[in-house]
């Protein structure tokens, strides 16, 4: 089985998540070739075939042009699967390639099952197994679902021809709001989710964070509701963290949040719903009323 892996490059850097594509292909036992719109100076640590276009010419975000470049690579490589990351770059580009080739696309793959690809659905509560009905297929893989693999070495580069297309004009990047809290360095993070109920209750979670000597984190809905500032947000649009201890309070476990904290050493979840998806990744799930359990835990820790 042959795969063409679509790497990612942003703000002048090759993204580490690119290696997750290689990890996925390895799990499938498939041969790989890599595609990247990037730069000669930042080649991936990979010893296979690399189809390369220069961002200086093709731009970091130009989906119509990048689509044509991918199609060229597909034509040359003839892969069975064209694999993207399910990222803001991948979910934007993959359907264009799939439509151009008129092949199936399976989004946000987390594994294989029943001869098909396993994906999440219904906010992560359920699963589907999907089988492409076309010879080729486009896949996007869930961020963090597959461990990154760095084969090492230098790629054999094939430069792609210069083509032009511009349906979308890229103007520039807007930086994220300044981070007051660097969760990436915290050893303990205690996060508040929608389950805390209201802004007043966040202080209860913050008190636990303090008692454990850690930082306060938050899920996206809590930040959107302005109960907590954005620099505490954990998840794909916030910070990705890997502390020694992650305590998820009233967090259901939506994929976007899980992706940001899955790699924590030890995950303790507190939720009144026994079936909350956070239970998938938690080492311990305490089924209790947040506002009863957390203050009790904090009080006991302070003794």
């Amino acid at each position: 089985m042959k795969t063409l892996l679509i790497g990612e490059y942003r703000e002048g850097k090759l993204l580490d998540s690119t290696y997750e594509l290689i990890g996925f292909a390895g799990q499938m036992g498939a041969d790989t070739a890599l595609f990247l719109v990037g730069s000669e100076g930042q080649l991936p640590a990979y010893d296979g075939a690399l189809y390369l276009a220069d961002t200086a010419v093709a731009g970091e975000y130009n989906p119509d042009l990048h689509k044509l470049l991918v199609l060229e690579a597909v034509q040359r490589e003839n892969p069975d699967y064209i694999v993207f990351l399910h990222s803001s770059y991948g979910w934007d580009l993959a359907p264009r390639v799939a439509a151009a080739l008129q092949v199936a696309q399976v989004s946000e793959v987390i594994g294989t099952r029943d001869g098909g690809f396993e994906v999440g659905c219904c906010n992560g509560k359920m699963r589907r197994s999907v089988k492409p009905a076309t010879g080729k297929a486009v896949l996007t893989i869930q961020a963090g679902a597959f461990l990154g693999v760095r084969p090492g070495g230098s790629p054999k580069v094939t430069r792609l021809s210069n083509v032009s297309a511009a349906g979308v004009e890229f103007v520039g990047y807007e930086p994220a709001e300044a981070k007051g809290v660097d969760l990436a360095k915290a050893e303990v993070i205690v996060s508040a989710g929608r389950g805390v109920g209201k802004k007043d209750n966040v202080q209860v979670i913050a008190a636990l964070a303090k008692a454990l000597g850690g930082e306060l984190g938050a899920s996206r809905p809590v930040v959107d509701a302005e109960w907590v500032a954005h620099d505490h947000q954990v998840g794909t649009t916030g910070q990705t963290v890997a502390p020694k201890l992650y305590v998820a309070c009233g967090i259901s476990g939506a994929i976007q949040h899980l992706a940001g904290m899955k790699k924590s050493d030890f995950i303790l979840a507190i939720n009144k719903d026994k079936d909350a998806p956070i239970g998938e990744v938690a080492d311990v799930l305490v089924v209790a009323d947040l506002m009863q359990f957390v203050p009790a835990l904090t009080a006991q820790l302070q003794k």
Binding site: Q105, G116, A133, Y173
Partner: protein, 258 residues
């Protein structure tokens, strides 16, 4: 100016889901339905654009599905869309993203829409394909994951939400398609006069057979609950006992407590 908003009716995500008799999608028993949250941002943005342009544009809302989707359509009309198209399909859940997109593209092709808006993905299936696929099939430019939108003289300036909170600013010329993300806007709560006006707005019913021309490119083989992870320990019971247990586990398994 003609604007199209594509919406999907999805089940309320607080529900418990069970596979249906065929085992390829959820059973609808005991489910409450609502408009896909991402599509609400699309409807709101379309209505705001209409207001910005002095109410001149005509906003059409389209949805595919059984009769119950008319509820979602009515909500979009109450929010300010002018007219609606209901593609009647009692088996919409068996269509794959490609089929959905091609039906929308078939409908939209002759209509000459300047701008098409939809949510970036649906809350139930979440494949995030239909929007982009429609744009590709219509041959119009498209940008996804919008958290910022402005329009002037035929050009859309959009802010895409990227990982880490960074935003990518892009411009597209109409006719174009955009998909909307949480944070783009706060959808309005329909006022009663608008709810009542909505009752009089046109909802054209189109049988699915008129628009469906393609076979599915992918098949759902099964719909099931995730396997329970063995390693996860579930604790329940009296709060003070739980507290002691948890502290014990934290001492044992992490280096956090001394």
């Amino acid at each position: 100016m003609k604007i199209l908003v594509c919406i999907k009716q999805v089940p309320d995500l607080e529900s418990r889901f069970k596979p249906d008799a065929n085992g390829v999608w959820f059973s609808e028993t005991d489910l409450a339905f609502r408009m896909n949250e991402y599509d609400e941002y699309a409807v709101e943005q379309a209505v705001r654009l209409k207001e910005q342009l002095g109410d001149a544009p005509e906003v059409t809302v389209l949805s595919i599905g059984p009769d119950r989707v008319v509820e979602a359509i009515k909500k979009a009309l109450a929010m300010g869309c002018d007219r609606a198209v209901h593609v009647q399909d009692p088996a919409v859940h068996l269509k794959d993203p490609w089929q959905i997109a091609s039906m929308i593209a078939t409908y939209a092709k002759e209509q000459g829409f300047d701008l098409i808006l939809t949510g970036m993905q649906s809350q139930d299936r979440g494949s995030a394909q239909v929007g982009v696929s429609v744009a590709e099939q219509l041959g119009i430019p498209c940008a996804t994951t919008l958290v910022g939108f402005s329009y002037a003289d035929g050009t859309v300036t959009a802010k895409r939400e990227l990982e880490g909170g960074v935003k990518g600013v892009v411009k597209l010329k109409t006719p174009a398609l955009v998909t909307c993300q949480l944070g783009l806007n706060t959808p309005r709560y329909p006022t009663l006069p608008n709810i009542m006006k909505a009752k009089k707005k046109e909802i054209s019913a189109v049988p699915v057979a008129e628009l469906l021309k393609s076979a599915p490119l992918a098949q759902t083989v099964s719909f099931h609950a995730p396997a329970k992870k063995g390693s996860g320990l579930v604790l329940e019971g009296d709060v003070s006992e739980l507290v002691n247990k948890v502290i014990g586990i934290l001492k044992e398994k992490t280096a956090v407590l001394r």
